[in-house]
Symmetry: C2
Subunit: 428 residues, 2 copies
């Protein structure tokens, strides 16, 4: 079966084994802390460790030599004929936020291994070495740090330091958790940093996580920029008290302060006037959490992004002003307003964009240049190598939920574009 | 030591043993699922079962004959010289919501046992029998049902039915939990219902849970009415999705719908124009609860009360209208709007009020007639017997939090008023 049927397709006799690839996607989805069809795979959990074993096994079968670093980024290398030249890398993540789906990240890891298999079957010999990377904890679920593995690879000194002291919500330290998964034998995480000339290019294959490609019937998205994400944690504190006995004028309700700030986030985002500005309150908790108790503490976490860094920073400033004014007006204490990260946007490199575009043309696949509104490990890899991203359509643009879906045909198209892009970058 | 020093005090030579009573309060507070000074004691938990053993032991030492019913209401009886006449009962609860204090309810159980001890030491002989009751699950924490034990004693057929099918948030059935604590041997809970002529009167001693007595320097509050409580559960559902990829116009954020409704509750309560109307959102949860995921589900629980039932019901209607209009405007589904209970207020009985008032006068204690804004097991016992409540001051009106406090002197005054009221009711 030739997925595409185009005569120019250099892989026509060595097509993507998409039946097997789909089987692997399904197998991987079973390593989950929540029941199917949802997937929950949290950093260093039993299921995460089992899933890592699954990935390393597949890398080994693909003839890649496997190594892992101190936080569990996994590298599978196919040595090229010029082993000392900077290599070409591709990869993504396999961790999954609670109750999400089985394609986010996974397509870019299993798809990359299948691209390697495809290239081997086609008789390709790399010049620059090729590497498949599975990044640790792209999702911020456990330690509140997004793109933990790639951020560290990109040389974040502050993160390397923070990791020695970070704890999760159950007070389990990052160090203990990493050790329990077989990592962090040496506690100096600066040895994870990449040398400047490690990679000559980095490409990531990923589902779009938006509806554009599907709506427009386009096979491949070529990402030119990744939006600038920021995340904020806010805590309010009040006197709490009995829901019957404390009269309304005496109250300083921390839960209502949080509710008001959540609505202010939406308001400030809409005030930007740009469709590209988004803001979300994905976490909202009140303490003690009893129906007959006025909340004495509240905690919310805010995610805001834009392709325009300045515009996004204006939203953050307005959110902070609202947090202060809400706390004053309600007599509630603003215990914390912490900007956890405030990353700049990243641009794809022209050379990588050209290689991806030419691959789609050779394969006869329609493509569209677009912006990534979700962040990815590519945001950080762009700091260490020319970067590019390949998007494939996904059902209704759904992501981060069990209904997330990409068709085997679309995944196979993505794998072929990735494989051809890798050959191009490896030989040049 | 005579706490009061008043010559007319009939207990002057047999004072309240408030050192021992305080010791018992402290001992009981150690049966907690959260660290001191907070108390968390959830129905049928290990700590609840241990605390029940502690109470039964104290009842036994006070010479009371102890029995328990199918849901674990505990009765300690001192047989009077007219054992067939309806008895006089007193009591309260010892369960504690998460992270609350050690006086709510407890004062009315340990204080009642001490009142019995005091009466014995003073040589009193009851005519009508006296009973001390520890009610099961006054707090709605585990099964969402407030005053579970007293509601059932009052003959709630719907509750007796519901209990055979109710489950908690961990999907543990009421039946299994009750059995694990040694109750519900027979699954027909209608055998808990009280016969009409069981009690001739019911009196409950309790901390005020409001600041009035402390502010005005009054020793004893005599409750004339208990405010009408209602509780509501609301669930919203939306499409959720990725916090970066789904643009603002495409969203139907279940979390923001919940935030808006929480603020609407406050608004509608304030619109009533009466200081006696209160409303609280003590529980607010979003799913899946990840910073980069738009909430696809939200759950809030609302408590609203008033001394005027009609005015409170108007607030409930407005909240329901807001829930509907918010869901329409945001394109969010209103999955559930459930009025869990909507109880009428209760009035104290004139005969019991007179007995309490006369007790304060004999003891030379200042008193004030007042309304209870918190509900109590008395709300339901009023359906089966003439009811009255004795309030004592508590620090700053604090309740449902670790800072809750009542002084040993104030507790001792409450015990004496209770004891004298019981003698009066027992002999008439
Ligand atoms: Mn993701
Ligand atoms: Mn991803
Ligand atoms: Mn209470
Ligand atoms: Mn109480």
């Amino acid at each position: 079966l030739n997925v595409n049927g185009n005569e120019k397709d250099p892989f026509h006799s060595t097509m993507v084994d998409f039946v097997n690839l789909q089987k692997q996607i399904d197998q991987l989805s079973a390593f989950s802390d929540s029941p199917a069809p949802s997937v929950t795979r949290i950093l260093y959990s039993h299921n995460d460790v089992a899933a890592r074993r699954f990935i390393k096994d597949l890398m080994g079968r693909a003839g890649l030599s496997v190594r892992e670093d101190a936080v569990g980024n996994i590298f599978g290398r196919w040595e090229g004929s010029e082993p000392d030249a900077p290599a070409v890398a591709t990869g993504s993540h396999i961790d999954a936020i609670p109750y999400s789906g089985k394609y986010d990240g996974v397509v870019g890891v299993l798809g990359a291994i299948e691209a390697i298999n495809l290239l081997r079957r086609s008789g390709f010999r790399p010049k620059r070495s090729l590497e498949v990377i599975m990044f640790t904890s792209e999702e911020p679920t456990r330690y509140g740090i997004s793109c933990l593995g790639s951020r560290l690879l990109a040389g974040s000194v502050s993160l390397a330091k923070a990791l020695t002291q970070t704890v999760d919500n159950d007070n389990i330290s990052f160090l203990d958790a990493a050790k329990s998964a077989g990592y962090a034998k040496n506690e100096d995480f600066s040895n994870v940093f990449l040398d400047e000339k490690t990679y000559s290019a980095f490409v990531e294959l990923h589902i779009e996580q938006g509806p554009i490609l599907e709506n427009e019937g386009v096979s491949i998205g070529i990402v030119t920029a990744i939006a600038a994400p920021a995340s904020i944690k806010v805590d309010f504190g009040g006197n709490g008290g009995h829901a019957g006995a404390v009269l309304m004028p005496q109250r300083n309700d921390a839960g209502l302060a949080a509710a008001e700030l959540a609505l202010a986030v939406e308001k400030h985002v809409l005030e930007s006037g740009s469709i590209d500005t988004v803001g979300t309150v994905g976490i909202m908790e009140v303490h003690p959490g009893a129906i007959n108790s006025i909340p004495s503490k509240s905690h919310i976490e805010i995610d805001t992004r834009d392709i325009d860094e300045k515009r996004r920073n204006t939203v953050i400033e307005k959110i902070q002003e609202s947090a202060v004014s809400i706390s004053k007006r309600r007599g509630v204490e603003l215990l914390e307003f912490k900007i956890v990260n405030q990353d700049p946007p990243a641009l794809s490199d022209e050379s990588v964009v050209k290689a991806m575009e030419s691959a789609t043309q050779v394969l006869g696949l329609s493509h569209k240049k677009m912006i990534s509104r979700a962040y990815h490990d590519s945001l950080f890899m762009a700091r260490k190598a020319p970067m590019g991203m390949i998007f494939i359509p996904c059902y209704k643009g759904y992501s981060h939920k069990p209904e997330e879906y990409a068709s085997p045909e679309d995944i196979a198209n993505g794998v072929k574009v990735l494989a051809l892009t890798l050959t191009n970058l490896s030989l040049n």
